[in-house]
Symmetry: C2
Subunit: 433 residues, 2 copies
Amino acid sequence: MQKTFNIGLCGLGTVGTGVVKILQKHQNEIVHQIGYPIEVKKILVNNMDKKREGNIPLSLLTDKVEELVEHPDIDVIVEVMGGIEETYEVLEKAIQNKKHIVTANKDMMAIYGSSLLQFASENECDVRYEASVAGGIPIIRSLTDGLASDRIHKIMGIVNGTTNYILTKMIEQNRSFEDVLLEAQQLGYAEADPSSDIDGLDAARKVSLLSTLAFSMSVQLQDVDVRGIRDMSYDDLFYAEQLGYTMKLLGIASRDEGKIEMSVQPTLVPHHHPLASIKDEYNAVYVYGEAVGETMFYGPGAGQLPTATAVVSDLMDVVKNIRLGVTGKTSVQPQFETKLKHSSEIYSKFFFRLEADDETGTFLAITSVFAEEKVSLDKILQMPKQGRATAEIVLITHEASKEQIDNVLHKLESLQVINGIHSYYRVEGEGEA
Amino acid sequence: MQKTFNIGLCGLGTVGTGVVKILQKHQNEIVHQIGYPIEVKKILVNNMDKKREGNIPLSLLTDKVEELVEHPDIDVIVEVMGGIEETYEVLEKAIQNKKHIVTANKDMMAIYGSSLLQFASENECDVRYEASVAGGIPIIRSLTDGLASDRIHKIMGIVNGTTNYILTKMIEQNRSFEDVLLEAQQLGYAEADPSSDIDGLDAARKVSLLSTLAFSMSVQLQDVDVRGIRDMSYDDLFYAEQLGYTMKLLGIASRDEGKIEMSVQPTLVPHHHPLASIKDEYNAVYVYGEAVGETMFYGPGAGQLPTATAVVSDLMDVVKNIRLGVTGKTSVQPQFETKLKHSSEIYSKFFFRLEADDETGTFLAITSVFAEEKVSLDKILQMPKQGRATAEIVLITHEASKEQIDNVLHKLESLQVINGIHSYYRVEGEGEA
């Protein structure tokens, strides 16, 4: 008799509908690769009466989670409904019933990922979550398999499409943050409440997931230092361009001598850096490995079918493992104790944009502050502000510690000649020669 | 008792030495991930007396292949010695003795890959060859695992670092092909006999390996249409730039309605295309999937440690499979019959650079040829040649079939007003708006 593998699909929103589409459309190729068909047995929905896209038999729908997690014929739970605590409990119940898990849920994984993986492993169940980071880009696999033999030193990712879209349009079209955000909301690229995107939380969740894998440490979401793009002005982007840099919201994670730092922050990258050319809503993850050197993985970070591709590829992996009888045996526990760098150990260049009195001695006063903190300057741009007795001063430092930069900021704030610190941002990569 | 997995290393050149280095340096992390150490048991070399880099015990070296492929304690043969027929025979013998194979040998895989995979599968052995395409970039895994659920329509790859280095320097430094080639040879980026790189054969081998995986068809190396960069001039690159394009040597493979085309040829890509920004000796593979859309994988295409990273990651995979008892069970035979497109079914835009008499009627005569073959023109650039009674004419067509373009070329050749067809190249992607 022909065996069929059955899934219980939790959620029939954008991604869930995409999963059903891909399973239907590519069934032939899927059967060829894994030997058996995959069928959707039950679908958990909130609202039984809502009209649904595509031809999904009503008999599959249920609003009772037990009909999925306790169903004797269901092999794998595909979770694409979102939510954190409740969803985690559903998946725990599923694992108790020996169901394997494929999820696209970064919010839940960033908080409960290590518990879930541990519990699954004890129950010989698989948990896969490729779709939770950078949608259609197979970055999790690349870290766990393709670059498994290497020691990863640094990851820098454009892992939030909404903010990359906003920054791209701001600089290309000389527009304000608020203006582009509104457009992005109208186009459906940004949510009605955009805060988790524009304040960096969404990216921070992805950084914590990638760091856990890349550094083999169990990291906490709250250890990611987060700063979004809400306060950015067109001028910040413009001056960055003038100095040879493109502004991106980067998730950064790096390791030196067993200690790590993790952050999400607006960052200047040189025009020639691979990340600088990533435009609009695209995502890219740059990985620097000790042996492999520079690599980058580029693709759509969201969207129905890209995300569903990642979900179904994970599902095929799990089914292969079920067939071979090796589920729950491929996940690896973190190897190293989590040690975070102190702010005196986090080094980078920094960009400052200041407004100061346009008079003798101003520049000396400012540079003295940097000199006192032993921060040397790489690039300087000074222009009079039109119609005002002030000058705009843009500086890029050489490498300095976060601690030094915090000290500089503190001193600049109390400097008489300074009328305002417009902005300061991290700078990554070597600039143009 | 602690089990150790043993490898027989065939070849101790650049990559072989890199494999030994990574196994030594990352032993701790490798043991954590796969549970057991990996040890080099024997190394096959040509010359027993040659001085070797690093601290490799002389007792490991042998020039007798039997000491590896028949060694009772060796689990995996790592083949990094190159060669085709003889090497294939060595690996066949290894598989007969139930050894698994990890190879970086694209030359051999492009010809004997499907036989080797088939034979290994019959013997429950694994064969892995990630390092054979694009060095440190995990592109094979991305096609077989990460994008497994998708239907790949097109692959375009910069898969030869030498030619990408040459093209980058030609355009950036206004230099001739011959001049940059000489420099590349001095720097060790190009071989003393550079023909397999610059004439496209190296890239063609990679295209055939990628096509087999992406389209699930068994393709032949001779079905890849190959054209190298030996005849390119700085002017070709210059005019391409003027019209908004960057010239790259691309391996192209695409599928429509079950039929495929494969080629290696100099190709114009728009400046804003992800492939246009890949510089120097870097590689990148652009993959267009039906569901996922545009993705790209970027990294070092060669070099000791990047390539060795791919080899050791493969090795770790094989060891995991040995431990789980599932070797030889994960490879998938091609699903579809190989059908090649006829030249009337291969569509793209084309770039022409012609020299013609600078007199009335010339342009009409030329455009008439295109019109007769129903090829319409997208961009036209005409300039008088300094100090001559001729004009340089650069054209970019709209989409046309290869057959149409061949007809146009044939007619242009016999046109009186044309003094020379300097060059013609394929054009990919949409140009600037």
